[in-house]
Assembly symmetry: C2
Homo-oligomer: 543 residues x 2
Amino acid sequence: MRSTMQGTPLTVASILRHGVEVHGDRRVITATGDGFRRSTYEQVGRRCGQLANALRRLGIAGDDRVATFQWNNQEHLEAYAAVPAMGAVLHTLNIRLSAEQIRFIAGHAEDKAVIVDSSLVPLLARVLPGLDTVKVVLVTGDDGDLAPLEGSGKAVLRYEDVLGAESPEFAWTDADEDAGAAMCYTSGTTGDPKGVVYSHRSLYLHSMAACTGNGLGIAEQDRILPIVPMFHANAWGLPYAALMAGAELLMPDRFMQAAPLARMVHTERPTVAGAVPTIWNDVLLDTEKDAGLDFSSLRLVVCGGSAVPRSLMEAFENRLGVTILQAWGMTETSPMASVARPAVTAGPADAWRMRATQGRPVCGVEMRIVGDDGTPQPRDGQAVGELEVRGPWVTGSYYQVDDDARFHDGWLRTGDVGHISAEGFLTLTDRMKDVIKSGGEWISSVELESALAGHPDVFEAAVIAAPDERWQERPLAAVVLREGAIVSPGELRSWLSDKLPRWWLPERWTFVEEIPRTSVGKFDKKVLRGDYADGRLKVETLE
Amino acid sequence: MRSTMQGTPLTVASILRHGVEVHGDRRVITATGDGFRRSTYEQVGRRCGQLANALRRLGIAGDDRVATFQWNNQEHLEAYAAVPAMGAVLHTLNIRLSAEQIRFIAGHAEDKAVIVDSSLVPLLARVLPGLDTVKVVLVTGDDGDLAPLEGSGKAVLRYEDVLGAESPEFAWTDADEDAGAAMCYTSGTTGDPKGVVYSHRSLYLHSMAACTGNGLGIAEQDRILPIVPMFHANAWGLPYAALMAGAELLMPDRFMQAAPLARMVHTERPTVAGAVPTIWNDVLLDTEKDAGLDFSSLRLVVCGGSAVPRSLMEAFENRLGVTILQAWGMTETSPMASVARPAVTAGPADAWRMRATQGRPVCGVEMRIVGDDGTPQPRDGQAVGELEVRGPWVTGSYYQVDDDARFHDGWLRTGDVGHISAEGFLTLTDRMKDVIKSGGEWISSVELESALAGHPDVFEAAVIAAPDERWQERPLAAVVLREGAIVSPGELRSWLSDKLPRWWLPERWTFVEEIPRTSVGKFDKKVLRGDYADGRLKVETLE
């Protein structure tokens, strides 16, 4: 029996139309270094029309890919909305990747055009000649020298000039909702980057999920500050969710240091902000320097990308009165898959325990833990295995790459290891490739890192597997101390001793200036393991 | 370019799985008259498995229709979840319809089974022999006599006995999301009732929309009291949204009078409740009798089904500290289409003006006003015409009936007349069939009724078109006074005179004991017009 419902597709065009028609007076506010520039969604909608007309005129047709090489700003939002809504495919290039990776990714995606911020022209200029498929470059921002892009054989145009010549009217495409709308490449630490192609449907549903009360509860009264970059997993979906809800967007542009971010919170009063833990750590330090900063507008700070230390959550709660909400996801999951809201029925102690996990799946996403033999494990908080996920905004393949090993009966194998409690909370203990197996048992590097980060002298810590004759592997802790702090490995080890099983405690310790990171800011443990293997770390071993 | 996303369908089965697995300890609480019975979603999930196994054993296969003849209670929720999740189609029968209408509807839908509450056995018994397609009747509740159903030639079984014999395990169907999941007939005042078939997709998306911050913001911490019947437009989607969010459900069962409802609010502390204005009017009267009733748990009272008088909203706000939120929709729109949350930027006066409208569309629904010539009208708060809507949870046809006149270029013609403001707020001024056209201009019966309801002596009022020699039509006001109140037509007319255009003010007045209502509780103006035409109303005419 067929339903009688209309077949209206879920599209980015309909998100854009809704934001502009129903919430046209809500604003997008972009940092300029010495102030802010402000536009309404109504104005953004008109500029989206101009951008779509310009891209058509410049030859963008069908599902051509339009890349962005951009900070979080109004123009990036315009590309987010206009490119998919005209039927083309948005490709967010990660500005932090190596020239070689960018060339590979832009070539693999066959990008036809690039929208670049003028401050990033020098960075793009290094790779542009090698981007064979790119025909057009649009440069946003009216300062900056275009000379570095010349001689690349591409048409190089100023974004504002091009838009100024166009009509704001455009007949947005109510595309097939399963068509590609946007793509993003994962920057795997091994092998070539792999592309994920989001559909109109997946972006729409993910945005709705972000607006639900059990998600982030985004609504018109919100003012959203996405610090997580828009070139990284859709800035966790915050821009589309804000447009859908008519929430205001506060865009930090290239002013991503702790001091301007803290000032932006103080003056522009966001209600929701999203960034990785490192950023919040830095912001917290900044607020220590300036006690006058007012963070009271924040009802929620979303934090993810790596495990959030409980000490960071407590410091935000106690010092700033701000709740950090841990969320988990990956490029392959759009990314919001789970949110660590404690169960409503939990008491204070249980609530903290739940907040320290990766959370419960939002409706739409299903999760399971699978053992070495491929069978789903019980939800008992004990059985450890690889996390698998499925749902309408979870990828089922990679763009033009066969990688069947990453999928299992229609579920995505996440490469993360952990367990799920009887209450449904996911705890990730490691990446598959970072696990430490000592005498046949798993030791969680993530839990060791989180416990170490709670020590008052520790800024951050990474724990890796060190080969060991007797136990096969033992944990090695690489610790970054706070400025001026002095503490011995023995003291850190005894700090851990009442928090974790005795046999988890590392014997091998090293103090480092910083933890090596990947292009998206995660600990790069492969580099750390290499440094250790090659004897580049000064390691102290406790008995 | 195809996306790489998984093709996971949006289904009632996945709502059920999510509610049970992630929010298994949240409860469904059903009134028993002298108390409440309580179950968890985990228990409801097991009973859903038993129900599905039982229905299979009783011959329900494929897309067979399973009807309910039920109050709002746990067993009705079990049918809501289990019937679509097993791949069958839920058909909610309206217990308030005439025997003839029920026979027509159950026959047209070809219902195979009916799940009936024991208190409604006598009502069902009157029509059961004529329900040719029905083979099985399951009776919920352990009191009550089954004798009236015997001799109908149907298998009559007790629900609890049948469930008790079954396993709670059932392999839920991840159906095609466009397949029919549930159906509901509109009780048109003219012609045969017409069926709307909701899809898994439409129910899923509608539930998500109810959970968004701009919708009703339903989340795990909520306790939802659906007073609007589950046989009427899915109880506005509250049951599915609650299950999706893990919100608790407070079910009034058959205890639908103002006094037990008010007590349920007092003792069970719902955060959200939904009912038509009449119910809230009655509840308000009840709270006047008992000042000790505590309504402070309610963060939101959703109100719709007919225009909500501002006086009612103000009384709730001032006397009980409770916000009434007007929402608009119809059976054909699942039903939530718009919600009258004031714009965030509005000052207090504008906010009240916006709250008195039918609101702005929730994301997913699009609205337009179409003139007599079929062209979309400007959004200027002035241009009046028929409201048309579209979206993924709006019907595009009726079940096995050709009624092309109700659709226009893929939009549903709602039969409602009104205008949309520049800020996007919809104001409905009349049903097409109830419009009053005086000297070529529209007079809004809805605005007249709302203004009259604000008079302290008026309980409620209905305004209809009276044929008039000079003006073609003039408004006639039928007024129900509060107990013991005495007021003259002249006084009521002068009450209106500073609130509405002079030429709108009715000359014809009648005082009645009650306004005739349709089976779903709306004013039945057809009956009122007939009473007037046939001289059954005692009308006083002012000069």
